[in-house]
């Protein structure tokens, strides 16, 4: 019908088609057979290694009361590409955001990735999250991710328990790849010191994730996964009731209380005042509150019980006595005349008050007679047994060090001050080898001068005195409840002996008993409890004297050793001593006698914060001088 002139073009069209098909086949061969990188890209796309976070160990007090637990909170995640149709005004009202807030958060998420989920809002409370979840069908692209934060039901003991926060760059670097940004670890206190035990061990799982970074099932049925191992539960030595009580007594005062069970070295309470509610450093509010606490002029983050150092003042006198007794330079019966002053090398040395002459160590302690202890100290330093002061002072300082003074005791907290027992070199350097003698360092005799102790060291010293010469390293952890096998952390319960003969504690402890029974601390005697101790009124360059008391009770087989420092509060007998006596009474009797309720009320209600107002007194971090 039609003459076909162009049948040969059939082949041209065929060739065109075949050429294109061949190009495709070559391209496919390149992509699928020769280029290997796509396997890996597809694998990396689809399979994600995810950390499985263990639950943190719980913390109990010495009586088994729960003092730290975990609470679930939620991070709200968003995948911007899917969230275009989300009901944004509703989200804003549920999460209490402004629309601008919403846009900035969304922009930030988009900057990370439009296709992948990232945090839209951190740490939303359970109630907020539940309301959000009810309407979640209106919010495509939004999703919740559960996390846990710490809760401290007693709102106290912040400096002991510490806090948990995001790892910093250093921690990540030092963790050998274990931590990654956004992980949480203990940042202070027990949370930090026992991170290994409390933190547990992260697990890993390999999951398929879709393009929106949402889990789509296990890779290889979890064959390569490892389970997370929960953290151990920690049983602390703290008596949380005593701790709470101590914090009440110290309210609106600057200072610290530390109590130790002498028999075991277990720390019963550790109050650093002003403190803060540990819950302030949990969850979303942490950053803001942390900043506030750091810049607070009263330094609530500073653990005054272990980090602040003070001259021990008169609380040091028992040690001065013990050394001289042990050195044999004076006996129990020894008289130092006191007419209110001490004539020595032209120095103006005065006693704090008038009292009859002390004829023995007991009475000297009870009256806290300064001349008596200057003389006692001189006797030790001018001991004819030694030819050089370097030898006699060296011996004296070693006695001090044998009680753990001048070095860290090794408590199980991340940081501790070492205090100071001045070295021979220190004086040699200042005065020259021949330039110093007993008069140069005479103030050491009453616990002033260069000597510095932490309240912890002071309490520990009194525990040793109560024990007649030994102590066990003070510690905060009794035991861990093993959830899994790991190197067991056992407190070091070895008795450490001081180098003073046991018999010398008899007269000294009698004296300490007299302090409360008939001496400077008579106001604080407790019916039925043989409280022993020593008041201290510590001179310092930061304003009024610090009020200090340290002691133990009962006299035989003491159950509690305690040190109390109230900064710039005046005489030891006015604040530190009553507070200590209330703590002891509360601990031993579990209640406060009616006739002492008024004292309790007064201690709790006294507000000394005015004294610390800026300009009047500098913030005190240690009581040097």
């Amino acid at each position: 019908m039609n003459k076909d002139l162009f049948q040969n073009r059939y082949n041209v069209v065929r060739i065109i088609i075949v050429v294109f098909a061949a190009v495709f086949v070559l391209r496919l061969a390149y992509l699928q057979l020769f280029e290997k990188k796509y396997d890996k890209i597809a694998f990396d796309n689809a399979i994600k290694e995810v950390e499985v976070y263990p639950t943190r160990g719980l913390v109990y007090d010495r009586k088994g009361e729960l003092i730290v637990y975990n609470e679930a909170i939620y991070d709200i995640m968003v995948t911007p590409r899917l969230a275009k149709t989300a009901d944004s005004p509703k989200i804003c009202s549920l999460l209490k955001l402004t629309m601008e807030d919403y846009s900035t958060r969304m922009a930030k998420a988009r900057q990370y990735s439009a296709h992948k989920a990232s945090v839209f809002m951190k740490q939303v409370s359970l109630e907020d999250y539940q309301r959000f979840e009810e309407s979640q069908y209106l919010f495509p692209g939004f999703d919740g991710q559960v996390r846990t934060i710490r809760k401290y039901p007693h709102n106290c003991a912040a400096v002991i328990l510490g806090d948990v926060g995001e790892v910093d760059d250093n921690q990540i670097k030092n963790s050998n790849g274990y931590y990654k940004p956004g992980d949480y670890v203990g940042q202070s206190g027990l949370e930090r010191y026992y991170e290994k035990e409390l933190g547990g061990t992260q697990g890993k799982k390999f999951i398929y994730v879709d393009v929106h970074n949402r889990e789509q099932g296990r890779f290889n049925d979890g064959k390569y996964d490892t389970a997370a191992i929960a953290g151990d539960n920690l049983y602390s030595t703290i008596d949380i009731k005593l701790q709470e009580y101590g914090e009440q007594l110290m309210a609106n005062k600057k200072g610290s209380i530390i109590a130790i069970e002498p028999e075991t070295g277990e720390i019963l309470c550790m109050v650093s005042s002003p403190g803060y509610d540990p819950n302030l450093l949990c969850g979303a509010i942490r950053g803001e509150n942390f900043k506030k606490l750091v810049f607070d002029s009263l330094k609530p983050l500073f653990n005054r019980a272990t980090m602040a150092t003070y001259s021990p003042g008169s609380t040091f006198k028992p040690l001065v006595g013990l050394i001289s007794l042990d050195e044999g330079v004076q006996g129990e019966i020894y008289t130092v005349p006191c007419n209110g002053f001490y004539p020595f090398a032209g120095l103006s040395l005065k006693c704090s008050h008038h009292h009859p002459w002390a004829t023995n160590i007991e009475y000297a302690l009870a009256q806290s007679c300064n001349p008596y202890f200057w003389q006692t100290f001189r006797n030790a330093i001018e001991n004819p047994k030694y030819t050089r002061i370097q030898d006699s002072y060296g011996q004296w300082a070693d006695y001090c060090r044998s009680f753990g003074l001048g070095s860290r005791l090794g408590i199980d907290l991340p940081s501790e001050a070492r205090g100071n027992i001045p070295s021979i070199n220190y004086y040699n350097k200042i005065y020259g080898e021949k330039g110093w003698h007993s008069a140069t360092i005479i103030s050491l005799g009453i616990g002033q001068g260069e000597i510095l102790v932490t309240p912890l060291q002071l309490a520990n010293f009194y525990a040793a005195v109560g024990n007649h010469g030994w102590y066990i390293k003070p510690h905060l952890v009794k035991t861990f409840q093993k959830v899994h096998d790991k190197n067991e952390v056992k407190p070091d319960l070895k008795k450490i002996y001081a180098s003073i003969d046991t018999r010398w504690y008899v007269p000294v402890n009698d004296g300490l008993r007299q302090v409360v029974e008939a001496g400077t601390a008579i106001e604080s005697r407790i019916e039925g409890i043989s409280l022993c101790g020593k008041t201290g009124t510590v001179q310092n360059s930061h304003g009024d004297h610090h009020s200090v008391f340290a002691g133990f009770a009962p006299k035989d087989n003491p159950k509690i050793a305690i040190a109390v420092v109230v900064e710039n509060a005046g005489f030891g007998a006015t604040f530190a001593c009553p507070i200590a006596s209330l703590m002891v009474e509360r601990f031993i009797n579990d209640t406060i006698a009616d006739n002492r309720k008024a004292k309790e009320k007064k201690m709790m209600e006294t507000n000394l914060l005015d004294k610390y107002a800026l300009g009047k007194n500098m913030p005190v971090t240690n009581g040097h001088h």
Binding site: Q32, D39, A42
Partner: protein, 423 residues
């Protein structure tokens, strides 16, 4: 000529078989593309892509019925009413721009009940009818200018309307009718010029500075002139071509600079140039999917790129990447092989027609299928621009499956009746 006893007797079962295989592969691939744990392949409940397999199944049944109906209708019906069908479609096509339903950002859909369809899918078919009719008219010779213009108009009018509708992807398909015209006698230089234009356009976009090209053209032209110095006419021609080429690449560059950003990005992605992160996402993920398939693939329903939704439009435009990932080189080449087999078979059938109408129509079918094949697979493997057109018989989509079925089976019907035509 004796009429056949059974109308099935002359049906080309080879073509039908390849069609059935492609449709079934498509259905299986769609199931894999939208697969989630426990998904029934017949599910049609839901608002996301999980209904695609179930719906496609319904479309396949509908297409089968539709194909059967076409095979019953006398092929002369289409021959007779070619212009009527073509003519009736033009106002419909214009009408949907104003009265149509909107979907995927384009107002070019007709919605009847739950069924919606793009007339632009069908317009390829109607244009094929009209073109076949015109070219088979006695004394029409495509080499004549008048006939050329009429043929161009038949193709150009619907193409223009589709462009106006904003569906540039579907409009580009009409370019492929040049292949039909070529088969029917269009001068070769149309193809040569067309090919050169594409080549120069690519050069203009790839070469970073225009003056590189200008210098290159000048050098080539100078060399050619040097060797053909004696032939004055050739010298003028060479100089002229070089000049035109220079002006052309300058023009392409100018137009490119004034394109919308997303259009620029598409072109840049295609050319392998660096674009802003995320803009080339689709192509990159598709290439990763195919590339990670290896020789034999990850296995059916095992493709991670596919299952985890890294490739967008997985069941429609990028269905080929799902096959490439799960069946590897073997599966990918099989699909190409099936298409080549289909195209070759159809060309063979076209060539054996006694009626010029049937032959032209057959070439229209071949050209349209070839172009879709070329662009869709080329896009998935990163050698063709991102133009969202489906892979015939395989991609998810009712209107496209029905339209391609119609296109193909009308030809099968015409072929089955080829002996009825008197020489």
């Amino acid at each position: 000529m004796r009429k056949e006893e059974k109308f099935t007797g002359n049906i080309d079962w080879i073509t039908v078989l390849i069609y059935v295989v492609l449709v079934l592969i498509g259905w299986a691939a769609i199931y894999s593309a939208v697969y989630t744990e426990g998904l029934s392949p017949f599910n049609t409940v839901g608002r996301d892509t999980t209904v695609n397999t179930g719906k496609q199944f319904q479309w396949i049944i509908a297409s089968a019925i539709f194909a059967a109906i076409i095979l019953i209708i006398d092929g002369k019906f289409f021959v007779t009413f070619s212009y009527v069908i073509y003519g009736a479609f033009i106002p419909l096509l214009i009408g949907v721009m104003f009265f149509g339903a909107e979907s995927h950002g384009q107002r070019n859909w007709i919605r009847i009940g739950g069924f919606q369809m793009q007339p632009s899918e069908l317009v390829k078919f109607t244009t094929s009818l009209a073109l076949a009719k015109y070219l088979s008219t006695l004394n029409v010779d495509i080499r004549r200018w008048r006939d050329k213009w009429i043929a161009f108009a038949i193709i150009g009018i619907p193409m223009l309307i589709v462009i106006v509708q904003g569906d540039a992807g579907s409009a580009i398909v009409f370019v492929v009718f040049a292949l039909v015209l070529f088969r029917e006698g269009l001068e070769s230089y149309y193809l040569i010029i067309g090919g050169s234009v594409i080549f120069l356009s690519l050069l203009a976009l790839i070469v970073p500075h225009l003056w590189y090209l200008w210098i290159a053209f000048a050098i080539v032209a100078a060399l050619l002139i040097y060797f053909n110095f004696k032939n004055r006419r050739l010298v003028y021609a060479i100089a002229g071509i070089a000049l035109i080429a220079s002006v052309y690449v300058t023009g392409v560059n100018f137009i490119f600079d004034h394109l919308k950003p997303h259009q620029k990005d598409r072109i840049n992605v295609l050319l392998g140039k660096e674009v802003e992160k995320g803009k080339d996402w689709n192509i990159r993920q598709s290439i990763i999917a195919i590339g990670s398939g290896g020789l034999t693939g990850k296995g059916y329903l095992q493709g991670t790129q596919t299952k985890l939704k890294f490739v967008p439009e997985q069941s429609t435009d990028f269905i080929y990447s799902s096959i490439g990932e799960e069946f590897g080189f073997a599966g990918s080449v099989l699909i190409i092989g099936l298409f080549i087999a289909l195209l070759m078979r159809l060309m063979y059938l076209a060539e054996r027609q006694r009626s010029k109408y049937s032959r032209v129509y057959g070439y229209c079918v071949v050209s349209i299928l070839f172009f879709h094949f070329l662009i869709n697979i080329g896009m998935a493997i990163g050698v063709a621009p991102v133009i969202g057109i489906p892979l015939p018989f395989i991609s998810y989509g009712g209107s496209s499956l029905l339209a391609f079925t119609l296109l193909l089976f009308v030809f099968i019907r015409l072929d089955s009746q080829r002996l009825e035509v008197l020489r």
